[in-house]
Amino acid sequence: MSKEKDYASSALVTKKEKVINVIVFIALCLGAVVMVFPLIYMVATSFMTKNQILSGTLTLFPDPILIGKYSEVLQKGEFIRGIINSLKVAIPLLIIGGFTSALAAFGFAKMQFRGKGILFLALLATIMIPFAVVMIPQYVMFTKLGWTNSLLPLIIPGCFGNVSMIFFLRQNLLGIPDELMEAAKLDGCSYFGTFVKIFFPLMKGAFGTQLMLWFMGIWNDYLAPTIFLRSEKNWTLQVVIRSFNSYYAIQSDYALIMAASVIAMIPTMLLFFIFQRVIIESIAISGIK
């Protein structure tokens, strides 16, 4: 008798659960639409005519569809130069900084030395130092070195490694058995050789994910470029679209501004959509660890 009642109540619970799930699903979908709506609006605006944009009525569908703003943006020399400058910063930085970060992560994860724990904690603590605190002295330093007429201020500091990348790669290496290290030692393999031949291939996946995240950071960076790049010919893409915004807003050419912003977002968006699973996983880990 009581058993029957139990069954009945559990059936009721699952039915109730199902109703809740439907409500939750609808709510989540509505929220998601709200989240991406501004971005859709951005793309829509980039295809609109000035008249439609300034009509003041809510429209999402460009009529007629104007693609001319995209070719107009891509024909602007400073825009292309911005893309090239951003790449000129990102490529050497990722190669050299990626290498130093991976090597340091290997040292922290697989080698024995005095002061390991405290040094690692000290390094982690540096993440908390706001960039704003060091930006004036860095600016003065880079000016004295004559770097502010080049892209060096954006490249050199990162070449010494990226602390969050070191943290994640170390975490990844800790999951690889120490026996591999011992075996390499017995084989007479040098420490650097062990890193290059054995451990680096094993952390390639994590390495790639971290490089992607770092690339996004470099590509989207604005504060450092705006301080350190004194001459216009060195402006990175974000500085360029910012200057477009102040210049073309006066002419109410919002379609052009939006088209430039859309293009500026495409590389990181593509990377994100292709590798979203690993990127999101890597973000999720940071909160648990």
Partner: protein
């Protein structure tokens, strides 16, 4: 102690020494980077903060002791920007509550969680400059998306989002919450998935209702995630600059949108008061340090660990 063991012992330590030297070499780069681009600049900033230095005049010749700090404490614009920075922090609890609720929704057995998760995360990976430009357009008084919607719904003209000293703060908080929500969701979702199912089953046996389960299981067990989000958002919250710089000009009407970092930038790079800027930087570092230390000190009061 026999001779042979002593010998192997010294041999071992020679190997260990070799390993240690290599390890130090491997980890050297980030520390050299830290010394050059963090430690030295911080010391420099502390020193420069005690000089009426403009970058052109002599740093040592214009030494003024604590004058910059005294001036800073009487500087209305500084207090205003600090206050605005703190007001913007209201977005942190809003984002955390929304993030936890949405993550709890996604943690249920519903279809398309991965697609939804991605959609909420898109603003996080977007360029901050690009989406600030976009939102400045969304907030446009005459033609923007928000006021178009308000007009379509109510027939009235919406507020002057970025031009009004009150609404600009609301606008910034909405923007920052939108931008950061994806991160909180991902982090909370990972935290929720880490909670063993049998905790909830046991609670169900004990006849706990939904709210009790939330209060006694979910909330305490995601508290490490809450702590992580709190710490990182507070540190980030004191560094807000780009959105203010892009969305309003000159810090907004009556400087109502300017943050501490915006003021620092303004003083140092628009007015050329580098010494004064350094004083703001040092004060900012102290504030961030105190808040972080405070959080770590009191974390054991509310942050629970799984074991």
């Amino acid at each position: 102690m026999s001779k042979t063991t002593k010998k192997t012992k010294t041999k071992m330590s020679a190997m260990a020494k070799k390993e240690e030297r290599w390890a130090w070499l491997f980890i050297a780069a980030p520390f050299v980077g830290f010394l050059l681009f963090m430690a030295y600049p911080i010391c420099f900033a502390v020193f420069a903060s005690m000089s009426k230095w403009t970058g052109i005049n002599s740093l040592i010749g214009n030494f003024c002791g604590l004058d910059n700090y005294i001036a800073l404490f009487q500087d209305e614009k500084f207090w205003k920007s600090l206050m605005t920075t703190i007001i913007y922090l209201i977005g942190i609890p809003i984002g955390m509550i929304l993030g936890l609720l949405l993550a709890m929704g996604m943690n249920r057995k519903i279809p398309g969680v991965r697609v939804l998760r991605t959609m909420y995360y898109v603003p996080v990976v977007s360029s901050l400059v690009a989406i600030s430009i976009l939102w400045a357009w969304v907030y446009n008084y005459d033609y923007g998306l928000f006021n178009s919607i308000i007009k379509a719904l109510t027939g009235m003209h919406g507020p002057n989002w970025l031009g009004d000293t009150f609404w600009v703060k609301v606008a910034m908080i909405i923007f920052m919450t939108w931008k950061g929500l994806g991160t909180s969701i991902i982090l909370y979702l990972a935290g929720l998935q880490n909670i063993p199912r049998n905790y909830y089953e046991a609670a169900l046996m004990d006849g706990a209702n939904g709210w009790q389960k939330f209060k006694n299981i979910t909330l305490p067990l995601v508290s490490p995630v809450t702590f992580y989000i709190l710490i990182t958002s507070l540190i980030g919250g004191f560094q807000v600059f780009v959105e203010v710089s892009v969305m309003v000009s000159n810090g907004g009407t009556d400087y109502s949108a300017a943050t501490v970092v915006y003021y620092l930038y303004d003083k140092a790079f628009s007015n050329g008061q580098l010494g004064y800027g350094c004083a703001i930087a040092v004060l900012l570092a102290i504030i961030v340090f105190i808040i972080t230390a405070f959080n770590f000190k009191f974390q054991d009061k509310w942050v629970k660990t799984m074991d």
